[in-house]
Symmetry: C4
Subunit: 220 residues, 4 copies
């Protein structure tokens, strides 16, 4: 049984996963080009001084990398239960990839403008996060509604897809706060990072709470 399912999955979703993996891998590696760019900026300067002066580039690089790695981990988990793909689903996944390939741009914006126009730079990065959350929500909701997922894990997948719905609201709030503060959105984004670093553990906890609530209601 397990074997049969695995085979089906290989056939239908493998090329979409391979293509997505490729896009993720390249986007995450291209970030370094922006870092190398800083080396060529002022040729006369001393190496260590130059590296220290461009600390925003290193911060932006790290943020961009963690963002894309979290995206990939979540994509990996979401696809674990997906058994079939269709044209609409490929376009929704394509929208996610669009935002993923775009990510080096707000990362470069951060590197260049974190010191100068920090609020605008952070807000542009925030738009990116909202788009990622919308894409992730769309992927999971579509797969759930159109029965592309493993029927066995349907109940769990419902809880799983909820976390991306929450993420949209969370990101919109963080984005709006970029215009009044710098510290608060940074704290909010850090909380987001921690939760979505382990989407499986996060959604499992949510799932248990939902099941418990249901049972409590039944028992009443």
């Amino acid at each position: 049984m397990e074997n049969r399912k695995n085979q089906t999955r290989t056939k239908e979703t493998s090329r979409v996963e391979a293509f997505s993996d490729g896009v993720f891998a390249i986007a995450i590696t291209l970030l370094v080009l922006e870092l190398i760019q800083t080396l060529h900026a002022q040729p006369g300067e001393r190496l260590l001084k130059k590296c220290l002066e461009h600390w925003e580039s290193f911060v932006a690089y790290t943020i961009g990398f963690i963002t894309l790695l979290i995206c990939w981990i979540n994509h990996h988990v979401a696809f674990e239960y997906i058994r079939k793909v269709n044209t609409t689903f490929m376009w929704i996944n394509g929208f996610l990839l669009f935002v993923v390939t775009l990510t080096p741009f707000p990362t470069a914006v951060l590197a260049e403008y974190l010191g100068k126009e920090s609020r605008t730079a952070l807000a542009i990065f925030g738009v990116n996060y909202i788009l990622i959350a919308i894409a992730a929500d769309a992927i999971c909701t579509y797969a759930y509604n159109h029965h592309l997922i493993d029927e066995e894990h349907r109940e769990y997948y419902y809880s799983y897809k909820l976390i991306y719905r929450y993420a949209i609201f969370f990101n919109v709030i963080a984005f709006l706060l970029c215009f009044v503060s710098i510290v608060i959105p940074i704290i909010l984004y850090s909380i987001l990072f921690v939760f979505f670093a382990a989407p499986k553990e996060f959604s499992s906890r949510l799932h248990k709470r939902r099941i418990n609530k249901k049972n409590a209601r039944k028992n009443k």
Copy 2:
């Protein structure tokens, strides 16, 4: 039976698909480098103003991304029925990959010249589309004629490959109209995008019409 076919496919076409997927994934991700380039253009300017002034870059990026995503989806569908490869087929596929890797160039042309020399920029992008259509037609026609495809779906594949033959003519017309207008070719390319966004659905409809016509002729 299904299993056996799947195995054969894994063995013969998988490396061609993996290599093609890699090329598609990289070409689609490299587009962002052109976008980042605009950030370094005039260092003194304010961030938002710079982003708004370079709107052509964002438009070009989106067009380039959708073009390559449509290409990949069509490549994916075309290869679903292909069971064998030979040296000639690899060269035809190589020609498609040549046009795919080239695509970031007309995209950069669009970004740079859409505001200044819109007709020439659009015409260069149009040449790219003609080449893609020719390559897609060549892949499907060769696979069909040399029996590289699944014999079961031969009848359907005939209808499928027809859509790329039509696409060549459509693209040549759109290209020629670039020299007299800007709005008409943009409308034509948008129609093209809609149809080839879902090549399976498009060709299935065509296939049904062909079957119906055939039956009608028989009944006469």
Copy 3:
């Protein structure tokens, strides 16, 4: 039997092939960056004039692309018969990948210097070809001598590996002729392209001749 062999191959060589495919795919796609570079060269110029003036870039791009595609096709054929890998083999394959990743450099040299210092530019590209031929010969000879290949096709593989030995000598001659002429090495490289575009067909013909000679000798 066929099935068992296929499985073995999947396990031992698949990750080497996947990594190599990735390197080939990226190297072949990075070539376009050099082409885009020409767009940013003289900002004031008209689009078509700029494209025509930089014809060397387009020629270099095409040569670079065909070179890497031929490399990939040959790598694909060579690995078709390889069943096992070991550390030494991975380093020999690593040397080939080193030359492959280097290829965008001589391509950029061609683009920049084909009009100015054509002989030196061609000679640098020639060094690249010699290195590729040495790497291809080393891969096949090592796989043959250390029994990493399918024992069934051992006889044929001997003929196959011969073509890369010949290629080394051919490339050294073409390289030396770069210092006295421009036309002759271009003709020689074109011949090389034609033969190695279809390595399977080329080596099969060679194999038949070898078998015929053997039989003729026996019959004497």
Copy 4:
């Protein structure tokens, strides 16, 4: 039995391996962009003179390539015995990929500053090596402690993971020596290259010595 294990591996670790392979392949291929950069530096100069003057770029390219190839070979061997992955493990692997994608930066530093500030450039590259060794040690130790590896090879894997623990100390010493000498760290890094070029052979020898010592102690 063998077959069953192979299947399990395919399912659980394949996407992590595919993503890692992609990142390695791209990082190793991006190195050439730094090399091409030197071509555009002083446009007026003669080709051969320019290549000879920028010898540091070629040295840095070769060092960067060998570094990443060694990393990949070691990653390949470490994953050969890993059967399961979990979220924490994906983050540890993510940290390795972070250092891998970063590697083109210290390589570019080497290319630019090897002639001018050799000690600082070497020390920055040294930090990279320390981070790689820490990441490799973390991957193997975590996989060993949390039983993600094949139980059969547990004893051997213990010896295998030891080599990365040693590598950390070795790299810290080499890094510190960068501040007093240039020749000594280069010799130390060359020794490192030789040992980690064949991690399987290196750890097997270590394993045998450990087993022999154990037996000797028993016999006492």
